[in-house]
């Protein structure tokens, strides 16, 4: 029996190196990642004459480097890595390098490589390793080329670290290669370059000077807003916001920032500076910039959020991926236009805490959440709130300006059309002028109508807001007194008057009870209509909502002696909408019917609410009354849906019905005198199910 082993042809090096990793930048980046994994703080990537073949790439760092054994059993072993994704490095970094194949690709970029390692664990040693790749081309097997690791005495004052020099490059590096390398280095770098423990890659390449600057400047200059907020030693805050050119947009004193604090109290924190760079990540915004939207997005994905530094040292986990200690994302959810999130902003909270009021937990998983930490958070949140308010103000101003601009543009267009018409020869000109006058007049009427409609909505909103604000005082409080007193009269009356109670007091007490019930609807209807949860789209069970509206209005119906009857189709029809929209349809139809019945001399007032499901696809809602019906001599049936056309109260109820139904993809119709003799309104709504 003879022993044998698998051996590798030297051609495998080419396959595993340059063929598996065709992009030079990824190979060089792998060397920078090795430096990161070796806990280097500095990593300099030098590209010397790489614009053509034969150039040199040099990567040097101040990391832990490698001993003789680590070079032999780690660096030179392909396909095996001593790195474990779960194990952290000495400085707590998560290793980012791969299994060494990327490194092979980098080392094979040139014809020769020289490695100089000065390990941290052996302060007086350094090791040299040279590889001449051409030698592999001259032999058949990888193992046929012996490599020597030469130990040397480290020169005095030479610091730890590794230098890898790849010479006689086989190919040139293109601008695209270097740009990709620069972007990748930025993603490895500590964004603020201020954390002594952070990783600071540096790119040196005379031929690509602009790209080397990109690595050091990151993308800060691409921010749309830079918030600078500070708290002085007395706890007083101030802030300013500058644009990407550095021009101040807004400034604030303590009262502006701390306006929601009780008595605008000072912040109980040491001197703090808060920088926040906010980006508007839209294609339009990035059209004219050097960086691309994707680059900045990636950068923010890696570093977005607010990083906390205390006494110049970064404190984890604040600002780490997934850590949103200032609740930026939650606060942005409601107002995406004007608030930053961890994906659109990068910030740094810089605290000089000489008295050590902010103390770290013993397991180093963050700060103890004491009142000072809460105050620090409050300062960060208040500053961002202030920025959001200012941005909202700007947005409002912009919208006003746009409205004015639209009016100006309309005037200009009108004058332009008239000028053009004046150039048309007679008799065509007169006909055109007449036609345009007609068009212009009808457009002006439409604009006037819309303005009135908007004004009416505003007035009604104000009435609604006022009613809601005082609902508690105007209805709830007096009700409490009346109902408690009525109950006392009943209790004591029954006891004192015995049999005479029914004769003397039962009816007035019952009247009081009925009146309080009716009054109670006032506050609940008003507040119920503006409940924001009812303005949230969801699955709406139509019959439930109709019942809810009828229940709410029941005391009003009783007070007016109106008999309300519901006759629903079988099943539980539903659609996706806001309950408020569906409620507004039925509420306005009922309001309309109640008003109509008030005008009628009908002995038995009646409203019917009927539903029918058509083909399992549509719900037909009919609201009928036995009032006088619609006077079609006075009002065209088509016009009842127009604002201000009906004479009852605001004249807007049926317009709201029409608009709400249209928003739900439905249709409205009306019959002047329906089944019950009075008006009959039909609303057809598309269903999701029944």
């Amino acid at each position: 029996m003879s022993r044998a082993a698998l051996r590798f042809s030297s051609a495998i090096l080419r396959r595993l190196g340059e063929e598996l990793n065709p992009n030079a930048d990824q190979g060089i980046l792998e060397l920078a990642k090795n430096a990161y994994d070796a806990d280097a703080r500095k990593c300099i990537v030098e590209l010397d004459s790489v614009g053509k073949a034969g150039g040199t790439v040099r990567v040097s760092d101040d990391g832990d480097s490698m001993t003789d054994a680590e070079l032999r059993d780690g660096f030179l072993v392909l396909g095996r890595s001593s790195k474990s994704a779960s194990a952290k490095t000495r400085l707590g970094r998560t290793p980012v390098g791969n299994k060494g194949l990327g490194r092979l690709a980098a080392l094979r970029l040139g014809h020769a490589v020289s490695v100089r390692a000065r390990p941290r664990s052996e302060p007086r040693s350094e090791y040299h390793l040279d590889i001449d790749w051409d030698e592999y081309d001259r032999v058949g097997l990888v193992e046929d080329v012996p490599l020597e690791i030469q130990p040397r005495r480290r020169p005095a004052r030479a610091r730890q670290g590794t230098q890898i020099e790849i010479t006689k490059l086989r190919k040139n590096l293109t601008r695209g290669d270097v740009k990709r390398l620069a972007r990748s280095l930025i993603l490895l770098a500590d964004p603020f370059a201020e954390d002594p423990g952070g990783f600071k890659p540096q790119l040196k390449a005379k031929e690509f000077d602009d790209l080397t600057k990109l690595v050091s400047s990151r993308y800060f200059s691409d921010a749309d807003f830079h918030l600078v907020a500070e708290v002085d030693e007395h706890g007083h805050a101030s802030a300013s916001v500058v644009d990407w050119r550095g021009a101040e947009l807004f400034a604030a004193a303590h009262a502006d920032i701390a306006r929601r604090r009780k008595k605008q109290a000072p912040y109980d924190i040491p001197s703090t500076k808060f920088d926040l760079w906010v980006f508007i990540l839209s294609k339009e915004a990035f059209l004219t910039r050097n960086a691309t939207l994707t680059e900045v997005r990636e950068w923010l994905k890696a570093f977005g959020g607010v990083h906390l530094y205390i006494n110049k040292l970064r404190v984890s986990p604040y600002g780490n991926v997934g850590d949103d200690w200032l609740a930026m994302n939650a606060r942005r959810a409601a107002n995406p236009e004007e608030r930053p999130s961890t994906n659109t902003a990068l910030g740094r909270m810089w605290v000089i805490d000489e008295d050590e009021v902010l103390t770290q937990k013993t397991d180093r998983t963050g700060l103890i959440e004491n009142e000072h930490f809460d105050e620090l958070k409050a300062f960060g949140i208040d500053s961002m709130d202030w920025l959001a308010r200012r941005r909202l103000e700007v947005a409002e101003r912009r919208r006003t300006a746009e409205r004015k601009e639209a009016e100006r543009a309309t005037r200009k267009s009108r004058s332009g059309v008239r000028t053009q018409i004046s150039r048309v020869p007679e008799p065509m000109r007169a006909a055109l002028e007449k036609a345009f006058d007609r068009y212009d007049a009808s457009r002006q009427r439409e604009a006037t109508r819309l303005r009135r409609e908007v004004q009416l909505y505003r007035t009604l909103s104000t009435a609604g807001i006022t009613a809601a604000t005082f609902a508690h005082e105007s209805a709830s409080n007096p009700l409490k007194v009346i109902s408690q007193s009525a109950m006392t009269i009943e209790r004591r009356g029954k006891e004192a008057l015995d049999g005479d109670y029914n004769r003397l007091l039962a009816r007035p007490v019952a009247r009081l009870r009925r009146a309080t019930e009716t009054l109670g609807v006032l506050s609940s209807v008003t507040l119920n209509l503006i409940d924001r949860d009812r303005r949230r789209p969801s699955r709406v069970q139509l019959h439930d909502v109709f019942d809810h509206v009828v229940r709410t209005f029941r005391p009003f119906f009783n007070g007016r002696d109106i008999d309300v009857v519901t006759a629903y189709a079988d099943g539980e029809p539903y659609l996706r909408a806001t309950p408020a929209a569906v409620e507004s349809i039925l509420t306005n139809l009922l309001n309309n019917a109640i008003t109509a019945l008030e005008e009628a001399q009908v002995s038995q007032r009646r409203i019917e609410i009927r539903t029918e499901i058509v083909d399992d696809e549509r719900l037909v809602l009919r609201v009928l009354d036995n009032g006088p019906g619609i006077d079609t001599d006075r009002l065209d049936l088509r016009d009842i849906w127009l604002p201000g056309e009906t004479t009852h109260s605001t004249g807007l109820g049926l317009t709201i019905v029409r608009d709400a139904v249209a928003d739900l993809g439905g249709e409205v119709d009306a019959i002047a005198n329906g089944d019950l003799g009075g008006a009959e309104f039909t609303v057809s709504l598309p269903l999701l199910g029944a």
Partner: protein, 221 residues
Amino acid sequence: MARLVLDRELDTTLIVDDQEDAREAYEDTIEDAQLTPISEPGPVGAGVATYYETIRSGPATAALCDQMLAHRNYAHFEGAELVAHCIQDGFPAVLCTNYDELIDDIRPFRRWIPSLQRPTEMDSEDFVQGLEDCLYEINHGFRPRRRPWRTLIKVLEVQANEQRFLLEVPAWSSTVVPLKFRNVPQEILDRLEEDFRCRAFVNLEAEGLDEIYFCDWQLIP
């Protein structure tokens, strides 16, 4: 006047309400419940803990409290907070308010409010029943249908401007429950986003939004 409610003799009952007419109306109700009413004319300048100490050192053995106390500068706290404080210290107190629109503010304290009543419905005997419910929970812990169970919470929407979020308790109902940010612990708040899930203790036998409460929030490992 005094009466035995469960095992405790109650007599003087303090009425905390910012409306003088309401206080007077409640006095009648309490008198008819065979208890002696006294009214707090206000304003109550102190914080809730200090004010409770004042109650404790006075003659009152029970309390009837309105929710909206801060409206007219009568107090710097609301009724639910005071009632919760009382119950935790073994002092029976009934919260009486038209709560439909206030329930979101009451919910954080609902765990410590055994009796929530409406002034339009609460008669003398209802008030005494409320005191009985309070004393039962003070002596024995939750009544069976108010007992909380550990269950899954699903966040539906975060409304940052309102400083609140909407949640659903699948084991209870599909009803959407709003909750203020300040009513959940920071570790939950930090992770709050749509579709976030965690656990909390919830009284799953609650019959409506006016009864449900949340406590002991937990992250799902």
